[in-house]
């Protein structure tokens, strides 16, 4: 049983490595600093949202509001950015937590099913974002350090000069590579490490999996079911809020109509990462691998277009994403059926 539970995540990591090697072999600059930075910078927002979604799905729920919550918090963060980095960050995060709290209350207090509750929050967050932003994007302030959050590279200040010298050698190359990681990537990484610890080493993490495995049984065992469910939606909202802050900071504007389809990307990452949609089982690391995998596939598509062998318009992305989800979902259904039969 243990072996089966690990294998889907392992498979994703294996595919991830193979695709990365394939890309490095096939395209110039695939593992170059610029490309890696771009891919990580852009996909860390999705990775954050996927982490929150992973927690929600592990309890057997779903959060459709993440995209518009991120848009909402990007607007809030942009409005607060003139006051500095931390007000912007805190404001955006709080906006996300607020939306998550609303989801949690609707689901645990009013007993409204997650899919409808988060749908309603999606509409409400989207409407509020448009109202706050007056129907247009809100520029962030470049006077403060706020834009560093999305555009900066966290460790660049400690970059020694010899790394960039001609004769830096392979060690210098690797060090330079790591030091050029963008700030959002570090934020996402920190969130995933924290998430992994919470799921695997805390009582709350156990509760999350237990609730997803069987809500009624958990209730009968005396687990704090409602509190657990409430908290996963707050976490998901917080992650969407953080993604919104990065969005505003990275693109220099709070964007009330951004975030369409983010929930699908997040769900796809979670599912691809081997987390069962029925809840009770899941992997934080797998979700990270899933998010990276989806990101890399699109990078490869872009490079492939650049090579001129094929010419896939950007519209193919959603087709590919859908086909991918289809394959994974069908595989998952077959696997879980096989597990049931065994």
């Amino acid at each position: 049983m243990q072996g089966f539970r690990i294998s889907p995540s392992m498979a994703v990591v294996a595919v991830l490595i193979i695709l990365t090697l394939l890309g490095a072999w096939r395209y110039d600059g695939f593992l170059g600093t610029y490309n890696v930075q771009t891919v990580l910078r852009y996909n860390s927002m999705f990775a954050l949202v996927a982490l929150g979604m992973c927690f929600v799905i592990m309890t057997g729920g779903i959060d459709l509001s993440v995209g518009s919550v991120a848009a909402f918090s990007s607007v809030v963060a942009a409005h607060l950015s003139p006051y500095g980095l931390f007000p912007g960050l805190a404001g955006g995060l709080c906006a996300g937590l607020l939306a998550g709290t609303l989801n949690g209350l609707l689901i645990t207090r009013l007993k409204i099913m997650p899919f409808i509750a988060t749908l309603a929050t999606m509409l409400a967050a989207s409407g509020t974002a448009l109202l706050l932003a007056n129907n247009q994007s809100v520029s962030v302030s470049y006077e403060t350090y706020f834009t560093n959050l999305g555009q900066g590279d966290l460790l660049s200040f400690m970059r020694p000069e010899w790394v960039d010298a001609e004769d830096a050698g392979i060690l210098g190359g690797i060090l330079g590579f790591i030091l050029s990681f963008p700030t959002p990537a570090f934020i996402a990484l920190a969130a995933y490490i924290a998430g992994g610890i919470v799921i695997n080493h805390t009582a709350f993490g156990r509760h999350v999996l237990a609730v997803g495995g069987g809500t009624e049984a958990s209730r009968l065992m005396g687990l704090p079911v409602d509190r657990t469910i409430f908290l996963v939606y707050v976490i998901s909202g917080g992650m969407a809020g953080m993604a919104g802050v990065i969005l505003a900071s990275q693109f220099g504007a709070g964007q009330p109509i951004e975030g369409i389809g983010w929930e699908l990307f997040a769900i796809a990452s979670v599912v691809v990462g081997g987390t069962l949609l029925t809840g009770g089982n899941g992997s934080v690391g797998g979700t990270l691998a899933g998010a990276l995998l989806l990101g890399i596939i699109f990078t490869i598509l872009n490079f492939e277009n650049g090579m001129g062998w094929i010419s896939l318009s950007a519209y193919w992305q959603s087709v590919v994403r859908g086909v991918f989800l289809f394959v994974v979902v069908v595989l998952q259904a077959k696997l879980s059926r096989a597990a049931k039969a065994a």
Binding site: K111, L123, G127, T128, A268, V329, K334
Partner: protein, 331 residues
């Protein structure tokens, strides 16, 4: 379960508020909105206001009918908007002779109507296949086409706007019969047929039985898989019809925009209309009224100077209220 039934039976017959709102809430809300508007909103009682509101609501109701049937079986269909886009993107290729030159315009129009609806239906069958063959939850199974469907529509038109001027085709949306836009007639016809099918035919009974208790339905010999296939097929075809109406209204097909967000509007109409989200109880007329209520709320707000985004927030509140009322009644 039995205790809940007993307690209901033993309870003295008092006015059951939750049940009352459940049954007549939508109609009442619609009535109140109309009265409110007659008093407050200037120029409300004009045929133009009526036409505007009806045409705004047509496609939502048509898709909502299919969605009602799907939800009645305990399912959900998120792919409706994308299927609208596929049908809408496909249709002009026939009557503008882009795909294959068709000498007779009317043959082209006929093909441009029939084939897109069939294609949307086939995609609906794909949803049904995923759900019945692999026992994938409907919300996830239809997510596949929600994502890929719009992509297919965009890829097949290369994302370009297809502009056309074919009044004979556009008649399905903007032509008028007895002064009423033709799309309203289509909507009414679909509502009447669906209401009849749901409440008066064996198929309708079976749909509700599957949603009420799938295991019991299976044991009593109802072909559960076939019923599910059929409701997703119907939902897909309804989406196809709605997609054609959208492009006929706009005299252009834009795969990026046709049916965007339609799944929310349709689900909202169904829920506000009083159909149980868990399946087993459904009302087509309720969906019609639900869509009208949502539209009229939006119209009321806009006509009285409230910005459109605020109307979104109100719509969210409406959905929550409707579902909460359902829960109250079930509890």
């Amino acid at each position: 379960m039995t205790t809940a039934l007993d307690s209901k039976k033993d309870r003295p017959r008092v006015f059951d508020r939750a049940a009352f709102f459940q049954r007549y809430g939508v109609g009442l809300a619609l009535l109140l909105l109309i009265v409110f508007n007659l008093i407050v909103t200037p120029n409300f009682a004009t045929s133009q206001t009526l036409a505007v509101n009806l045409t705004q609501v047509c496609t939502i109701v048509i898709v909502g009918v299919g969605m009602t049937l799907v939800i009645a079986t305990g399912g959900i269909d998120l792919s409706v908007g994308s299927l609208m886009a596929i049908a809408g993107a496909l249709s002009p290729m026939f009557f503008t002779g882009q795909l294959i030159p068709i000498p007779n315009l009317y043959v082209g129009i006929a093909l441009g109507i029939v084939i897109p609806i069939l294609v949307a239906g086939i995609f609906g069958l794909f949803n049904g296949w995923l759900i019945t063959k692999f026992s994938i939850q409907p919300i996830i199974a239809t997510l596949v086409l929600f994502i890929a469907g719009r992509g297919i529509a965009q890829v097949s038109t290369n994302g370009d706007l297809q502009v056309f001027k074919v009044p004979e085709f556009q008649a399905i949306a903007i032509g008028r019969v007895l002064g009423v836009p033709f799309q309203v007639w289509i909507m009414l016809a679909i509502v009447i047929v669906a209401a009849f099918v749901l409440h008066k035919t064996v198929f309708g009974r079976q749909v509700l039985a599957v949603g009420g208790n799938e295991a019991a339905a299976r044991l009593s010999g109802i072909p559960v898989s076939r019923i599910k296939f059929l409701v997703y097929l119907i939902c897909g075809m309804c989406s196809g019809v709605a997609g054609l109406i959208v492009i006929a209204m706009n005299s252009a097909a834009d795969a990026n925009l046709i049916g965007l967000g339609m799944e929310l509007d349709a689900i909202a109409a169904v829920v506000v209309g009083g159909t149980l989200l868990s399946g087993g109880r459904a009302t087509i007329v309720g969906t019609l009224l639900g869509a009208l209520v949502i539209q009229l709320v939006r119209y009321t707000l806009l006509a009285n100077g409230v910005p459109d985004p605020a109307a979104l927030v109100v719509k969210a509140g409406l959905i929550v209220l409707a579902v909460w009322l359902q829960r109250q009644e079930q509890a």
